[in-house]
């Protein structure tokens, strides 16, 4: 699980062009969206959907449920695990 989370962080940095961040800057449980987290927005949510499809073969067709899944690295990892 922790390996998955580290991998996810690398993929997030790449997919979203977060060039100024390193893996250490992204905490497992801190929110990815909104000003308190990484400041990501709805366009990034769509990029996360692309990420899940291209790296994990998981398809999400309703952007509305994406919000919960992409709350944090923890919630994303849980979701990926649950789909295995």
């Amino acid at each position: 699980m922790s390996e998955l989370k580290e991998k996810l962080k690398t993929q997030i940095i790449e997919q979203l062009n977060l060039e100024d961040l390193t893996i250490a800057d992204i905490k497992n449980d801190s929110p990815l969206f909104g000003d308190e987290g990484l400041g990501l927005d709805s366009i990034d949510a769509l990029e996360f959907i692309v990420l899940l499809d291209s790296y994990y073969g998981i398809k999400i067709d309703d952007p509305a449920i994406a919000k919960e899944i992409f709350h944090s690295v923890d919630s994303m990892a849980d979701f990926i695990e649950s789909k295995k």
């Binding site: 400041g39 366009i43 769509l46 990029e47 692309v50 499809d53 398809k59």
Partner: protein
Amino acid sequence: MYYIHKIASITHQDSFNQTDVNDSLVEIAEDTVLISPDYKKYVLPASLRRLSPILRMAVAAAKECQEAITIPVEAISVGTALGCLTDTEKFLNVINTVEGEILSPTAFIQSTHNTIAGLISLELKNHSYNMTHTQNNLSLEMALIDSMLCCDEGKEFVLLGVADEAIDFLNKLKPIVLPENSIVTSGTTFFALSKKKSTAEIGFLACNSIIKPKGVEVEIVLFLRELKIEINEIDRVYTNQNSLDFPKEIVVNYEAYSGLYFTANAFGVHMAHDWLIKTAKKYALIVNSGCNNSLGLILLKNDKAQN
């Protein structure tokens, strides 16, 4: 008169925030690159990460202009000939390479021409009139005509700007769509305009844009006649044309310094603006003629001129 209160250009010249852009001009060469400021000073990293070169340079130049006048502009008018080419090409690649239904949306979102003006409104938190004109090499003229209208309609300050970016692909279009010996470049110029003079000296006096002109010389005569100005009152001509009926010593080819992008006449305006300030001369004419049989004429006037 529509006074230029601030002018900011990011080009392949060292032009950003220079007192006189003419001081450090070098003739454009094949291996030339865009000279960019530190964009982190203008855009938060969270936003900057997505932005293509055209968006970065336009936002930086626009913000310089807004900051220089302190009160918020009441209209934003942008001209671009070819728009956001980097993201357009990126999304063309996405749709032709990605199999399946789920595609990355960012390049698409930022591929529309009005991403530039829209992003500026977003960055400046400005809710006013926001327009994007795209008329090939007359895109500056169109955005300028709109800006002048906005001023006439009572808007105190208008943010006028142009931006165009080069992508490698454009070189493939030589010599069929683009001139063979051209050096394709990127560039942006923004202006803070107002009918109020305050400390400004130079302004746009008039602008005309013509599709299928009767002839360059004829149209120049008509343009100046309407303004009751004699041809020999023009102190300098900035043009992308090789042969104009003016004494050689007063003609400057701006494209030799800007390179080729279809809103580069705005850099010609910037060169003219700084030259008028330095020499205290009165009139500079910008003549921009395109291969699609179109002509743009812009006249700058210096209120402080000695004659």
